[in-house]
């Protein structure tokens, strides 16, 4: 993907402007990976949270151990595990999907705790009302509990999305060419690492500052719209 791009290392300014288009392509990969990983984390995290609350001790304990394991081991090693071990069992995924899956698995462990907190914060009376209406446990979760739990966990989920964006550079080790992977590659060819890496750092800083400002506003706006956050 580096074909057709030329860079000019005479001054740092020309260097920056000449590599900016490539880095911005990397930015889209970064954002896509974070979005895919976040989608996986949202779905899987809810599944973990519900299984953790299962009445069968065997299920709830197994889930607890899996979540704890995912949470206490490094993303990098999990990523290597998926990347090298899945093909041995005949599951060959593109590097991008493997990366998104690793991100999603690690963050599912985090989001499951958020879901759990949100579900536990729903008033007991809601459960009692659901029982009185003769709803099954599944129906109560689907129609009563989860719809009330979700709005109040939005800010916490947002924080994890920001954290996830900052972890995507790890995916570059399995050949996902996101921003930092590209910056490194440019550095390898020009022997000039400082400018590309600084540029990537600044883009990350800008990205997280914007996201945090947005989240801050959201956190102010939600209680006004009648959604209690805690």
């Amino acid at each position: 993907m580096m074909y057709g791009y030329e860079w000019d290392t005479t001054t740092w300014l020309t260097y920056t402007t000449s590599i900016l288009p490539i880095i911005l392509i990397g930015l889209t990969v970064t954002l896509k990976a974070a979005a895919a990983g976040f989608a996986i984390a949202l779905v899987l995290g809810l599944a973990f949270a519900l299984l953790r609350r299962s009445r069968l001790i065997a299920i709830s304990w197994t889930t607890a151990v899996i979540v704890e394991f995912l949470r206490d081991t490094p993303l990098l090693v999990q990523l290597f595990f998926l990347y090298y071990v899945l093909p041995e069992f005949g599951i060959v995924l593109p590097a991008f999907l493997t990366g998104a899956l690793a991100l999603g698995l690690q963050y599912a462990a985090y989001t499951s705790e958020v879901y759990r907190g949100g579900i536990e914060a729903v008033a007991r009376g809601q459960w009692e009302a659901a029982t009185a209406l003769n709803l099954t446990r599944m129906q109560a979760y689907r129609d009563i509990i989860i719809p009330q739990a979700i709005p109040r966990i939005v800010p916490a989920m947002g924080n994890y999305l920001v954290a996830m964006i900052k972890e995507t550079p790890v995916l570059s080790v399995v050949t996902v060419m996101e921003m930092m992977g590209l910056a490194n590659m440019i550095g390898e060819r020009t022997f000039e690492y400082l400018v590309p890496l600084t540029l990537v750092g600044l883009i990350f800083l800008l990205l997280t500052l914007i996201c945090s400002a947005g989240l801050h506003r959201l956190q102010k706006a939600l209680p006004k719209a009648g959604i209690p956050l805690r």
């Binding site: 490094p74 550095g187 400082l194 890496l197 990537v200 750092g201």
Partner: protein, 221 residues
């Protein structure tokens, strides 16, 4: 090659991981307190410096920071060996998050406590060290515990700047034997075990801190 043959190499790597993690936690804790206190107590200049520090280290990715310092420091004439660079960057990263924890805990000390200290004619430093910090430090412990585990996990990234830690050892063995499944399973279990040990250690420290609280049996009226 039997999987037990990997263990000596993995153990060496695990030792490096533990050293780096503990050193980064120690240095990071110092940075966290220095910058956290600067945020709350420092004047406009000091608190702005601390704000910039926390925003930069929390706002950019750790891997970018690692590579940046790995390649950039030699250009300004400072060349450390990779291990020192790794420890410094991990510590600065943890310190950025830690400073926010310290700031949060310090600003949650109730204003009556500060007013009482003022009424007793405590100086600012006395108020900080005898009133605010002893109460705030107890509040900080759970968050610091999470941060310590996070640091252990993030220490795996130093393998990418050629430090022979546990992840690096796993990678090198895999490159020779291609026996991915058992190597990465053992490695994941090693990290899990280290996390659990670290968690127990944190509990012990937490209990010590709680016991050493300034007024453990302060009568409530």
């Amino acid at each position: 090659m039997d999987w037990t043959a990997y263990l000596p190499m993995l153990w060496q790597g695990a030792f490096v991981t533990m050293t780096i993690t503990l050193a980064s936690i120690a240095v990071g804790a110092v940075l966290a307190f220095v910058f956290g206190i600067m945020r709350v107590e420092g004047g406009p200049i000091l608190s702005t410096i601390a704000l910039c520090y926390t925003e930069v280290f929390r706002g950019t990715s750790l891997l970018v920071q690692l590579f940046w310092f790995y390649y950039a420091l030699p250009l300004v004439g400072l060349s450390f060996d990779p291990i020192t660079t790794g420890i410094l960057v991990l510590a600065a990263h943890a310190g950025g998050y830690g400073a926010e924890i310290v700031r949060g805990a310090l600003s949650s000390v109730s204003t009556q406590q500060l007013e009482a200290a003022r009424a007793l004619n405590f100086s600012r430093l006395q108020t900080l060290f005898r009133v605010s910090l002893p109460q705030a430090i107890v509040e900080m412990m759970p968050a610091f515990g999470n941060l310590a585990i996070e640091t252990l996990k993030l220490s795996s990234l130093v393998s990418l700047i050629s430090i022979a830690d546990l992840t690096f050892a796993a990678q090198s063995i895999r490159n020779i034997t291609l026996d991915s499944t058992s190597i990465y399973s053992i490695t994941l279990l090693c990290y899990f075990a280290m996390s659990l040990v670290l968690m127990v250690a944190i509990r012990v420290v937490e209990r010590l801190v709680r016991r050493g609280q300034a007024f453990p049996q302060m009568p409530r009226s």
